[in-house]
């Protein structure tokens, strides 16, 4: 019994999510470039493309709902669909964070440029890499790649904490630059949220591939730095 229609629908769902991932990743990259290059045009593109991400989210949910209602998927297929719906929601939130960054940058561009003692560009590079690798782990169905993303989240958290301390100090010492420092601090917070969504996506990939729930450091062995680690697979996964 080959469920051709079902397999086609699953492939369609996968492709739609990958397109959605591409849109969200592009939005973050554009927003970050908008920050580092004070580029109004890129920020405007992020705002304009948000509706594409929102429409993609609805399409994916509709298709997942349709498959659940008509195909009664089980095991790895069921886990795949549940993971897709959750990744879908995370990607939409990634798009929202990109919009927040873009709006913040558009405010900053109107203010005089100042040199702030914080490397938002480095943080943006790390966060973009997390999003990209989380999506790669989904494309390849590899829990090890997803696990690597979980470990990167702590690096971004530290960057956010450092940025917070540095920028608060700047506000105290250079009150004339408070607005710019505050904008940079909010961008750092938005980037850290994007990293959290990349982490969620990776956890969902692990759930799909291995059936293991590693959220909130649960259900698996905790590795160094209290990072939930991928358990050894008990059987070869068929993937989808």
């Amino acid at each position: 019994m080959v469920r051709t229609r079902f397999q086609q629908q699953m492939e369609e769902l996968r492709e739609k999510l990958l397109r959605m991932g591409g849109l969200a990743e592009l939005a973050v990259d554009r927003a970050c470039q908008g920050y580092t290059e004070r580029d109004l045009h890129r920020c405007q593109l992020v705002l304009e493309n948000e509706s594409l991400i929102n429409a993609a989210e609805r399409e994916i949910d509709e298709l997942a709902f349709d498959i659940l209602a008509t195909q009664q998927p089980a095991a790895v297929d069921l886990r795949f669909i549940l993971a897709v719906t959750k990744i879908n929601a995370d990607l939409e939130r990634v798009g929202d964070q990109a919009v927040n960054i873009a709006e913040r940058v558009m405010d900053m561009i109107e203010l005089p440029a100042v040199v702030l003692p914080v490397d938002i560009g480095r943080m943006a590079t790390a966060v973009s890499a997390m999003v990209r690798r989380a999506l790669e782990s989904f494309v390849e169905g590899k829990a090890e790649l997803a696990q690597a993303v979980l470990e990167m989240d702590h690096v971004v958290d530290r960057m956010r904490d450092e940025a917070f301390i540095t920028l608060v100090r700047t506000m105290n010492e250079q009150p004339q630059n408070t607005q710019q420092a505050l904008d940079a601090l909010l961008v750092a917070r938005n980037l850290e949220r994007v990293a959290d969504h990349a982490t969620n996506i990776s956890e969902d990939v692990i759930f799909w591939v291995l059936g293991a729930d590693v959220r909130h450091h649960g259900g698996a062995n905790n590795g160094p730095n209290n990072v939930a680690t991928v358990p050894a697979p008990h059987s070869e996964s068929t993937g989808t």
Binding site: Q72, A75, H234, S235, T238
Partner: protein
């Protein structure tokens, strides 16, 4: 109350053809256990070994141990006594066609020597209530024959007939395969209630049915028990790739 079933190194043969290979399983008392697998995998043969129906086929034989509670099935015990303890419901409802509804349910009791009319009346009503049929037939218990009922009602009549002799175990071999979704829903609801009092083993081709009614599921393939685990595990994250391929529809 239901009792557990212990099966050890069970092998079953049709002549020289081996149908089951070294099956080991512990069925928990007062739970529903579903057996799934493609046609010809041995699941029906397996449950027919639990009440010694397999040996009714010429040239067939069974090796290994089966215990229903403390009752040893293959140790010189009476098949009649065994089948009082182990009721069975088949794919196609098989009421005695010329008997009334009442007599269908009372048949097993009479075979077992029940003669007290008042007591038989009580058991017939209780069995029909347990099979969720009493309200639908209470006014025609003696007037209508078993064969005059709908397919779903006939299957519930067969369940009532099986329950009347107070078994410990109820075997169900694809009990809903000939029924419409409404009747299927009623039988599934019934299974859910009956497992409080009986141990239920159900063979089904409908995997969603297994997922809905059973706490444990066993997957058979080519006469072997490939996997036996909690139902949610089998249907969400099975341990064996062959199980996963079957429940996801990649073969079978």
């Amino acid at each position: 109350m239901g009792v557990g079933i212990t099966v050890e190194r069970l092998n079953a043969f049709y002549g020289k053809t081996q149908a089951l290979f070294d099956i080991n399983i512990n069925v928990q008392a007062n739970h529903a256990t579903a057996l799934i697998g493609p046609s010809g995998c041995g699941k029906s043969t397996f449950i027919r070994c639990l009440n010694r129906m397999h040996e009714t086929i010429p040239e067939s034989r069974v090796e290994g141990n089966v215990r229903i509670g403390e009752f040893n099935v293959y140790n010189g015990t009476s098949a009649t006594e065994l089948r009082r303890r182990v009721g069975m419901v088949f794919q196609k409802p098989n009421p005695f066609p010329t008997m009334s509804i009442y007599d269908n349910v009372a048949a097993g009791l009479k075979l077992n020597g029940f003669r007290n009319r008042k007591k038989v009346d009580e058991v017939v009503e209780k069995s029909l209530r347990s099979s969720a049929l009493f309200e639908e037939v209470k006014d025609s218990l003696h007037k209508k024959s078993g064969a005059s009922l709908s397919g779903g009602q006939q299957q519930r009549l067969c369940i009532a007939r099986a329950l009347a002799v107070q078994p410990e175990v109820l075997l169900m071999d694809e009990p809903c395969s000939a029924l419409d979704p409404i009747s299927t829903g009623k039988i599934e609801e019934l299974i859910f209630q009956l497992k409080e009092q009986y141990t239920i083993v159900i063979v089904t081709h409908n995997m969603q049915q297994a997922a809905r009614v059973a706490e444990f599921t066993g997957f058979f393939l080519l006469g072997k028990m490939i996997e036996f685990d909690k139902t949610e595990k089998v249907f969400t994250n099975p341990s064996d790739k062959r199980t996963e391929d079957y429940v996801t529809g990649r073969f079978g």
